[in-house]
């Protein structure tokens, strides 16, 4: 394939990526960009060119040894839910933008530690990035069919231009916001897109090689199993290489957390915690699919080319060998995708660390204080832009000078071992609050020294001196110091060996120093915030203990310098509102200081933020016990506040219930009073009659006419009857309303009851010559308490009699059958009920004005009692609104 054709394809492909990133950035809220699949696929930035080409090379040379690199992360995944969730929460809370920020903040916002981690990552990543460039250059060479030429000027080298384009891409989409903790949707989406491409193309070549070039996996296995040194390639690990496997798995386990690019995609770019739930199964599946054909491609390559070709590029060489340029091109683009995503995300992450943890805290702070806000924003962005270019150019230089001779696999593992030095500080520090910054710094430096001695030094010595004496005999010829076999442990591969020793000593230093020396109170404060993040997140800005003197105005000035007037004011307003502090407050408290530090952290890193804020405030030293006490207290306050709030809510609830009950009682009491009043009044009336008549009869001295005396005696009898009726009704009513009265429910014939009721009252009606007509001819059985229903009917009929004019009155009993009820009507042609009475007619002691008799025979409780009886039957009773003549009362009884 021609050089220019290939470059054209590369440019078109990059243009597509630019376009995707651009669209994603524009639609950053869309669900196409914010979903668990994009998140999980972006995690696959782990699979770089090293995976794409290196695994096959490794498999070809050493069999299944490539596997642990993927087994480590796969095993790590279940732990993610626990670990990553905590890390993501802490990072979001503190506006953390990189792994250097994360670790240095944990150890008391240590500027030196942040810088050290940045340098460590830089050292590890530059060779790693150069490895990617090497892959591009070499595959480009294979595709263009022109082997790499040494000594050409960089301007003739296409790799250089590709590196530059990658830098431009990372710069363009990585430095749009000054706040480094902001998300980069464009980059993440292209990474996810590239992850799909690289996997798809790799699977295609896998299928092509296995099933097209060969007759399936069995065919390849049969052919390879008769070759000379097959034993070595396929044997499962014995005990010694078992250790190798174990350490390499540990190594890649730590890498998946600690690689700056992984921290960037997994933590910083995580928009929702629940995306982890998809990642937990999808990411291992992705890794599995990626590795499924590795061994077969490796064997196929070996069978096809023997030892004559670079095994790392079998995926390209196999299709080219059978003249399938198109397929080779796909593979090339897949590998190129792996390179782009790795380089872009790595440089982005590194550039933030370099600006926020190295350059700004160690040199730019004075400048920031003096400059204008807009200038500061562009300073920050420019530092990051220059960092990106610098990293890529350095990687290119490293590639030109070193990488050409080294395999992809070995460079990758060296980077992993260096990055792994962060593991003790990172993992232990998450759960152990005693871990101190001194311990962390010591551990990392010692670990670095050991890994340099055991891994980097040997091959650089060989490269420079051309002799392998150092490797073979150890430093000064001391066997125990042999770089690949320290103290006689020589059965491990160099990376596993380096990892074992460096991490062992690193961890030892970390633990011992943490235990031996007391840490600074500030450190302990941050340690508590990280370790006990769940409790401390509820403390929010109060989680930082700070004592001293500070002015709001000074802090505001600093904020304005870096965030601009509008954003600072907005943030401060929010702060004042959140804590209900008057906005004209002059003295700043710990919360404002913590809040401001966090605000600045995104832009200039936590160390610089702390230094800038510290510059304008006067802090008092606090002792460690005091800090711990304050923290305990504020935690207690929070929890007791919570309890108090709950209790107070309960009390409010109870109070309102009590108030309601009280009001109800008062109403009831008032009603009871009124009721008693009315009862007293009603009782007094017949008693008055009886008393007065008796008195007259008693005092009578013979002059009272006989008929008069007769009348008084009759009155006494009728008043006594009335009195006893009244008493009975009152007792009835009370029993019914308290609910003590049980109904004697039996299935009865309603027709018979109606006839009985008429019979009871017939005499009274006949006295007034009022007719009672029973229209009901239907015999229907339903359950009810006959005595009670008789009482209701008697009440209603006698009511009607009261309203009817003697001689003219007609009372009609009617009925209606419903689906599951029977309705009985008592109609009359009397005066009717005035509309204003209708609503009160069923109230106790309510007596209508339209009654025909002056004083009713009733107690005034009849309708109230009827209503209670019907309601006890789960029925209802009503009076119909009628205009003109008559009244119609009705009640309904359910049939079941």
């Amino acid at each position: 394939m021609s050089n220019y054709g290939l470059i054209t394809i590369i440019l078109v492909y990059l243009a597509i990526l630019f376009y995707i990133a651009f669209i994603a950035e524009k639609n950053s809220k869309s669900k196409w960009v914010n979903n668990p699949y994009v998140y999980t696929l972006s995690l696959a930035v782990y699979c770089s060119a090293w995976t794409y080409y290196g695994s096959v090379g490794m498999a070809a040379n050493s069999g299944v040894g490539f596997l642990p690199i993927y087994l480590g992360p796969a095993i790590a995944i279940p732990l993610w839910i626990v670990l990553l969730r905590k890390i993501i929460r802490i990072s979001r809370q503190h506006k953390i933008s990189s792994i250097a920020d994360f670790i240095s903040l944990r150890y008391g916002n240590s500027r030196f530690l942040g810088a050290l981690i940045t340098l460590l990552c830089f050292t590890a990543m530059v060779p790693y990035i150069s490895l990617q460039l090497k892959a591009v250059a070499e595959t480009f060479g294979i595709m263009a069919n022109e082997p790499y030429k040494f000594g050409i000027s960089i301007f003739e080298d296409s790799t250089f231009y590709i590196a530059l384009i990658l830098a431009i891409f990372a710069t363009f989409f990585g430095t749009q916001a000054t706040d480094a903790s902001e998300k980069h949707k464009g980059i993440v989406t292209t990474v996810a897109f590239e992850s799909i491409l690289k996997l798809t193309f790799f699977l295609i070549i896998g299928v092509y090689v296995t099933y097209y070039l060969f007759n399936g996996t069995e065919d390849i296995y049969e052919q390879i199993s008769i070759t000379a040194n097959f034993e070595n390639l396929s044997k499962l690990p014995d005990l010694e290489s078992g250790f190798n496997w174990f350490f390499i798995m540990m190594l890649s386990f730590t890498a998946i957390f600690l690689l700056p690019r992984q921290f960037q995609v997994a933590v910083i770019e995580n928009s929702r915690e629940k995306h982890l739930k998809t990642a937990i199964w999808l990411f291992p599946l992705y890794l599995f699919l990626f590795n499924i054909f590795v061994i077969f491609i490796a064997w196929a390559g070996k069978l096809t080319f023997g030892e004559t070709a670079n095994a790392e590029y079998y995926t390209l060489l196999l299709p080219l060998n059978s003249d399938n340029t198109f397929l080779a091109l796909l593979v090339f683009l897949g590998g190129f995708s792996a390179v782009i995503s790795m380089v872009v995300v790595s440089t982005l992450a590194l550039s933030k660390m370099i600006s926020n943890n190295l350059i700004i805290p160690y040199g730019f702070l004075d400048k920031f204080v003096k400059a204008k806000p807009e200038q500061n924003a562009s300073y920050i962005k420019n530092i990051r832009r220059i960092s990106i270019f610098t990293i890529i150019i350095l990687a290119y230089i490293f590639y030109i000078n070193f990488s050409i001779e080294l395999s992809l696999y070995s460079i990758g593992l060296i980077s992993f071992v260096i990055i792994a030095q962060l593991a003790p500080s990172f993992f232990i520090g998450l759960f152990w609050n005693r871990g101190s910054s001194l311990a962390s710094i010591t551990g990392i430096i010692v670990g670095l020294i050991i890994s340099t001695y055991t891994l980097i030094l040997p091959f650089t010595m060989e490269a420079f001196t051309g002799s392998s004496d150092f490797t073979d005999f150890g430093l000064f010829g001391i066997t125990a110091l042999k770089p690949y076999g320290l103290f006689g442990i020589s059965f491990l591969t160099p990376p596993a060996h380096a990892f074992f020793w460096s991490i062992l000593v690193n961890t030892f230093c970390y633990v011992v120093i943490s235990l031996a020396f007391k840490s600074h109170y500030r450190e302990r404060n941050y340690a508590e915030m990280f370790v006990d993040s769940k409790n401390f997140s509820s403390l929010q800005d109060s989680a930082l203990v700070w004592k001293g003197e500070a002015y709001v105005a000074d802090i505001k000035n600093i904020l304005i310098k870096l965030l601009g007037e509008a954003r600072s004011q907005r943030a401060l307003n929010l702060f004042f509102k959140k804590y209900e502090i008057p906005s004209d407050t002059q003295m700043a408290d710990a919360r404002l200081i913590n809040f401001s530090e966090k605000l600045l952290t995104g832009s200039i890193g936590s160390a610089s933020a702390k230094i800038l804020i510290a510059g304008v405030v006067k802090e008092q030293e606090i002792s460690l016990p005091e800090v711990l006490k304050i923290l305990e207290e504020s935690k207690d306050t929070i929890s007791s506040n919570k309890v108090l709030r709950e209790k107070s809510a309960e009390l409010t609830d109870l109070t309102s219930q009590l108030k309601y009950a009280n009001e109800e009682l008062i109403t009831k009491d008032k009603q009871k009073d009124e009721f008693l009043d009315t009862i007293a009044h009603e009782l007094k009336t017949p008693i008055t009659g009886i008393r007065a008549a008796s008195e007259l009869l008693m005092e009578e001295d013979g002059d009272m006419p006989t008929d008069m005396r007769q009348t008084f005696l009759e009155n006494i009898v009728s008043d006594s009857d009335r009195l006893s009726r009244l008493i009975n009704d009152i007792l009835d009513f009370e029993k019914l309303s308290i609910g003590r009265q049980q109904l004697n429910l039996k299935k009865r014939n309603i027709q018979k009851t109606l006839i009985k009721a008429i019979g009871n009252i017939q005499q009274i009606a006949a006295n007034k010559e009022i007719k009672i007509v029973n229209k009901n001819s239907f015999s229907f059985e339903l359950p009810y308490d006959e005595d009670r229903i008789l009482q209701v009917l008697t009440n209603l009929i006698s009511n009607s009699i009261k309203f009817c004019e003697p001689k003219k009155g007609v009372i009609t009993l009617d009925y209606k059958l419903g689906n599951n009820f029977v309705e009985i009507y008592v109609k009359d042609n009397g005066k009717g009920i005035p509309e204003e009475d209708i609503n009160y007619i069923f109230d106790k002691f309510y007596q209508s004005r339209n009654q025909n008799t002056l004083k009713s025979e009733g107690s005034g409780l009849g309708l109230a009692i009827s209503k209670q009886i019907i309601e006890k039957h789960h029925g209802k009773i009503w009076v119909e609104k009628t205009t003109g003549v008559g009244a119609t009362f009705g009640f309904r009884l359910p049939t079941n």
Partner: protein, 120 residues
Amino acid sequence: MKKILIVDDEPNIVMTLEYAFKKQDFQVYIARDGSEALQILENNVPDVVLLDIMMPNVDGYQTLEYIKNSKMLENTKVVFLTAKTKDTDIKKGLNLGADRYLTKPFSVKKIVSEILGLLG
């Protein structure tokens, strides 16, 4: 001859009072509620009105108000005779301008002597 208007909706009670006052040579008018009382008062000026409070249509209070506003009836005494015996009721009745407030049940003899006393 003294004139008395008895206003009450309980016929049995009215009957006893009617008998007692007639025996004392009163001219007795009878009303079964406030509205009947008002009709009677349009054309007659009794010396005293014996007035129940709880009655249908026009009650005792309204009747008292009518009497108080009537020039013709300015010398007519008003005595409440009622089963409402709470202190607040009594106060209310007297404040409205009743001359006496008597409660049910009553001693006929006592009512008569009260009325005689009131009329001097």
